[in-house]
């Protein structure tokens, strides 16, 4: 069987022109997806996935058994926490929010140490943003703290730079601490030292206001002045350099708007497929994009971030959906997950996290085995159409049944 126009869920570009050929149960050809996307789609062939999907205390079990154990764990928990969901569909995320309401649980996702603040600022209107089709009008694309060629390989060719017939080719620029494939092809590439971004922004501000400052900041302002509609793609590099505090960056955008008269737009280079989806849902329901606790009504604060919860060993039962904190957290923090916290993991693959979990649900993979809707990094909704028949339950189904159970 061959399929066309599938959506790749390898990163939050969500390229929707993927072709896949399948023979029996095995995927044999992937068209148009980048190296990352192709590897992601081929991962469906992994042998491990032919085994029964659930694990209870290290033993292969069936779904009902796993659901029973998980429900019990969640019911007994005093401070349950739901974490992840960045690779699940909007439908599954909505169910998970319902579940945390019912449980009075805390809910957070990777965006609390990723691009959550940028998305929040965009949703509240403090940072101006635009969608990919609007990039047609853009005449300067600045990648700040990210190298799309490695993190989102088709970002430039399919969404930002090449797809539009612009009257004049848009300028391409980057601000980065590394010398990257992108910086080598940009005429104006700004190299900073690690942690210098704050300094650079302050310098840009003084150049705009007082016409004095660093040489490179001057060049940056000159570049901006030549442009009508510049876009800044905020990468993780900038987020980490600013330590998640975008007030200075907002000031920069405002100054550029007020003094230079240039309307700038910002798009977060979100890494996870549907990180922005959960941010949107939580924002609609609670007014904040992450770090929410439903224990006493709705409360929000840094103490509800996954990092804090794990560091202080607050949570006693964590439902982890489609992410692998054992690999992605600092090892010193991940250690805390071993200390008497019961873990329930929903992950299509075996990961270090699932090996440490009491209950593991091997769910269907969004995009290939399970359908639904997801939100692209620019805020546009994309519909996934699954190609494979599977008896594995989707995240949505598992969470719904957990919800029924509790």
């Amino acid at each position: 069987m061959s399929y066309k126009n599938l959506v790749c869920t390898g990163c939050s570009c969500l390229c929707d022109d993927i072709g896949v050929e399948q023979e029996g149960d095995v995927i044999t050809r992937v068209e148009n997806a980048c190296r990352k996307g192709a590897a992601f789609i081929y991962a469906h062939n992994i042998n491990e996935r032919r085994n029964p999907p659930c694990l209870v205390k290290g033993e292969r079990g069936d779904l009902t058994e796993a659901l029973d154990t998980a429900t019990q764990l969640l019911r007994q928990a005093k401070k349950p926490l739901i974490f992840g969901l960045d690779n699940s569909t909007l439908e599954a995320q909505a169910r998970a929010i319902e579940l945390s309401r019912t449980l009075g649980a805390t809910i957070d996702d990777c965006s609390s140490f990723c691009q959550g603040t940028v998305v929040e600022n965009i949703l509240t209107g403090t940072l101006p943003s635009c969608s990919f089709p609007q990039l047609k009008e853009a005449d300067l694309l600045v990648y700040w703290g990210s190298n799309p060629y490695h993190s989102h390989p088709r970002h430039i060719s399919r969404f930002a730079y090449y797809p539009f017939e612009r009257a004049k080719p848009a300028g391409l620029s980057c601000v980065d601490v590394r010398d990257t494939e992108l910086s080598r092809r940009c005429r104006h590439a700004f190299r900073l030292l690690p942690g210098e971004d704050r300094d650079f922004i302050i310098s840009i501000l003084t150049v705009i206001k007082e016409d004095s400052g660093r040489e490179d900041a001057r060049a940056f302002v000159e570049l901006l002045k030549k442009s009508q509609f510049p876009i800044i793609f905020v990468g993780l590099g900038l987020t980490y350099a600013l330590d998640g505090d975008f007030s200075l960056f907002q000031q920069l955008i405002e100054t550029i708007k007020n003094i230079l008269g240039i309307g700038l737009a910002v798009i977060p280079m979100a890494c996870h497929t549907n990180m922005r989806g959960l941010n949107h849902l939580l924002y609609q329901q609670t007014g904040h994009v992450n770090k929410i606790s439903f224990a006493n009504g709705i409360s929000h604060g840094p103490q509800f971030s996954f990092l804090e919860q794990v560091r202080n060993q607050e949570a006693d039962c964590i439902l982890i959906v489609g992410t692998d904190p054992y690999s992605s957290l600092p090892a010193s923090l991940a250690k805390n997950l071993n200390r008497g916290i019961s873990l329930i993991t929903l992950d299509p693959y075996i990961t270090p996290t699932s090996m440490h979990s009491t209950v593991v649900f091997g769910g269907a993979i969004s995009g290939i085995e399970a359908g639904g809707r997801v939100v692209r990094m620019d805020g546009t909704e994309v519909t996934l159409s699954p190609i494979k028949e599977t008896d594995r339950p989707s995240d949505e189904e598992i969470i719904s049944r957990l919800l029924e159970g509790v």
Partner: protein
Amino acid sequence: MTQERINPLQIYQLLPCTDCKACGCETCLAFAFELISREKTLADCPDLQKEEFSSSMELLKEYFGEELEEADIAESGHLIKQEKCVGCGDCIMVCSLGRRSRVRPRGEMPAFTESVSVLQVIDGIIHVVNPYRCKRKADPPEYCRACAMRCPFGALELVR
């Protein structure tokens, strides 16, 4: 040789520069061009095998090391270094034929039509799918190197 795009002059500087003609080329520079187009191999220059050129040889081997089969070079002259390509698709979009075949962000353009583009990403790596549509194969042939020039990873070379 760490730079990504290959330059005949840089190759020339690593050769003996004696123009001894033993390789069958008139000059060492001509030999450099033939190395790039993979018509000659490093073994064809006797002087280069000597001890004094061992450091040159090391660099050259790094670049031309792997033995190429005729089939590795597409009809259109594209040589693909599979291990370097990340499938970003930039090369497709700088080619006027590729651009015509491409999808725009949803709803703005028709879907990708394989029959139009010279290049396509398959299994995450660039492939030459329609070599005869390349301008270099037109009658009369047109000069074009856009795809190879624009590959950010140096994964695409045009060798003839």
